[in-house]
């Protein structure tokens, strides 16, 4: 197991370095960093001095090494647009995105898993209705769902706020929505919008896996033994669907981070996605490249975690690997 994790860790480092290289070439070759920093009346001599001082004339490999070491020390440079440190900008936005993502993941799992189990076990009107609803859930774009929710609950009924984070509470540098009623209400619509697509994915996957497992011999045998259905479905069948379900949760976290860009734009939610979108609009390369590296770190971290979880959950993976390493 140790060897397996080490192997994965090496792979992850490789991926991160590759993404850093992309981010670095973005930073270095898209637009001229010096031209972005100086005014128009700066003389060519001054520009050349600045170039020398920033080390832009060094060999590329040295520059790349410096870029990575700066990143690893948390020095992300300054935004071209606001002139603030990028690290500060992202750190300030991060809690908003993480809280939004967490709640929508929670919604997608709490609703998606039971709905998947139900539609796999029962056939009938309700089951069909849920399945048709998922087709709609996959076909309707996230931003349209958001708009309709705003129209229904914000404009027509006027129940929920549709703009921004509402009242938040500051804990250290972390700004949270969870501690005020208004904050929780503001969180609701964006989280549902972001969660619906993931919910349909979870549900479809759990359903397909349950159906596969229910066809296996051991379930037939367990039915023949007369085990009560509740225990049969939950302890015998559902437990064996968990491995693919964990994979999909891992993938979903990625999807949630990506689609938070869209949701944050619809609800003007001040998170990292909105920051990234602004940086694309204004070609703010430092923010773009740092966002890219952070996203890559998150994805790699999630994948690593999923791999390790396999060991904890599935004894078959453990024994196969143990044999392979001997």
């Amino acid at each position: 197991m140790f060897r397996f994790i080490l192997q994965r860790l090496l792979q992850s480092v490789f991926v991160i370095l590759a993404v850093c290289l992309i981010a670095f070439s973005l930073f270095r070759f898209v637009g001229d960093p010096v031209a972005q920093m100086v005014g128009q009346e700066t003389s060519l001599q001054d520009q050349e001095n600045l170039r020398e001082r920033l080390g832009l004339n060094d060999p590329l490999i040295t520059q790349f090494g410096r870029f990575v070491s700066n990143l690893s020390r948390g020095e992300f440079g300054f935004s071209y647009r606001t002139r603030q440190p990028v690290s500060e900008m992202i750190l300030k936005r991060m809690p908003a995105t993480l809280e939004l993502g967490f709640v929508s993941l929670l919604i997608s799992l709490i609703v998606g898993i039971p709905a998947g189990i139900y539609t796999a076990l029962k056939r009938g009107v309700l089951s069909n209705a849920i399945l048709i609803a998922t087709l709609v859930g996959i076909s309707v774009p996230t931003f349209v769902i958001g708009i309709f929710l705003i129209y229904l609950f914000g404009v027509e009924l006027g129940w929920l706020p549709t703009f921004g984070r509402g009242e938040t509470v500051q804990i250290g540098w972390w700004e949270t929505n969870f501690l005020t009623i208004n904050g929780l209400k503001s969180l609701l619509l964006p989280a549902i919008t972001l969660g619906i697509y993931q919910l349909t994915l979870t549900m479809r996957l759990v359903r397909a896996e349950m159906q596969d497992v229910l066809k296996t011999d051991y379930i037939k045998f367990a039915t023949a033994r007369g085990i009560n259905y509740r225990s049969l479905y939950l302890n015998h069948a559902f437990r064996n669907t968990l491995v693919p379900v964990i994979t999909i949760i891992g993938l979903q976290l990625g999807g949630i981070i990506a689609f938070s860009i869209v949701t944050e734009s619809v609800f003007q939610w001040p998170g990292m996605g909105l920051l990234f979108l602004d940086s694309i609009r204004y070609v703010d390369i430092p923010v773009m490249s740092v966002y890219l590296v952070l996203i890559a770190l998150m994805f790699v971290g999630i994948n690593l975690l999923v791999d390790i979880l396999y060991f904890v959950i599935d004894p078959r993976v453990r024994s196969k690997n143990a044999r392979a390493t001997q």
Binding site: G254, S279, I280
Partner: protein, 305 residues
């Protein structure tokens, strides 16, 4: 009659399945309608929304003809600049479908070429391409498309943005969708490669390129067609999303996503029609393509028969 049915089932299983699937027929009908409306929009639309001479700011935000304050010249109302909404939607659908089809064709050609070569030759090319595919597959398509779009904005001169945006958009969406084609084609080519007809062609001294394109490709068309349909919906969705976010098509040529974005600004003041009608069009189009994609997937999947 029954004999003819039986024969059809054996000879053209695909047509047989289609004739027996009402939902797929309906979806095909709706999809054809959408494509027809898009292609014929210059003749169908009452006005040309790109022509400034037709636009009068006095006509802006007119509600649909049947509601209070409506104008019978504009069947479903006008947008914020006085464009006839029906015409704008027809032209917008055309642009959305055009970008969607163009980018999926790009993704298909790129993905199928890479997949064929990786599956046929194997070796280092295969390893490298599949590594890239793995990394890209872990990133959602929307993120890849946004990133490519952003990079293009940085590289291209600012004055050129509006002219080149459609090409940039096509490349961005195409590059974020090629992986599906490449992986599937590679897997199928791998299987075909060891069959006797390929070996026979090799012994005859046929050029590998000819073997791949003339002999292997026709045998793996099924899965390609399925991905083409399923991912067409994804491409249309991506275009709409990017345009909605304001980094897609230029504002003087609104696609469905752009219209929806404009509509959201007026939703709060009660002008619901600008957002509702383009959204409905987009949803209908995507649902019908998705249903067709599901049908094709089931039809080509021998396990389900």
């Amino acid at each position: 009659m029954i004999a003819a049915w039986r024969r059809l089932r054996v000879e053209n299983e695909f047509l047989y399945l289609f004739i027996n699937n009402r939902v797929a027929q309906l979806a095909a009908f709706v999809a054809t309608l959408c494509v027809g409306a898009a292609v014929l929009s210059p003749w169908l639309a009452p006005y040309n929304p790109y022509d400034i001479a037709n636009i009068d700011l006095m006509d802006s935000l007119v509600p649909p003809a049947w509601s209070e304050g409506g104008d019978e010249r504009f069947l479903i109302g006008t947008d914020d600049q006085g464009r006839d909404l029906l015409s704008a939607i027809l032209y917008g659908t055309r642009l959305s479908l055009f970008v969607g089809l163009l980018s999926i064709t790009f993704a298909c050609v790129l993905g199928v070429s890479v997949g064929l070569m990786a599956g046929y030759f194997g070796g280092r090319f295969d390893t490298i391409m599949m590594r890239i595919a793995d990394v890209q597959l872990s990133l959602p398509a929307i993120l890849t498309a946004l990133l490519i779009d952003g990079i293009a904005r940085g590289i291209l001169p600012r004055e050129q943005h509006d002219n080149l945006m459609i090409i940039v958009l096509t490349v961005a969406i195409g590059l974020s969708l090629w992986v599906n084609f490449a992986r599937t084609v590679r897997a199928s080519t791998f299987v075909e490669r060891n069959k006797e007809y390929v070996q026979a062609s090799e012994i005859m001294g046929m050029h590998p390129l000819r073997i791949m394109v003339v002999h292997i490709l026709p045998n793996i068309m099924g899965p390609i067609l399925v991905i083409l349909t399923v991912d067409l919906a994804v491409a249309v969705l991506l275009e709409a999303t990017l345009s909605f976010l304001g980094v897609g098509v230029p504002p003087n040529q609104p696609s469905l996503g752009t219209l929806i974005r404009i509509g959201t600004e007026y939703m709060f003041s009660g002008e619901w029609w600008i957002v509702i009608f383009p959204s409905a069009m987009l949803i209908i189009m995507i649902i019908s393509i998705n249903i067709l994609g599901d049908f094709l997937r089931d039809a080509f999947n021998p396990r389900l028969r």
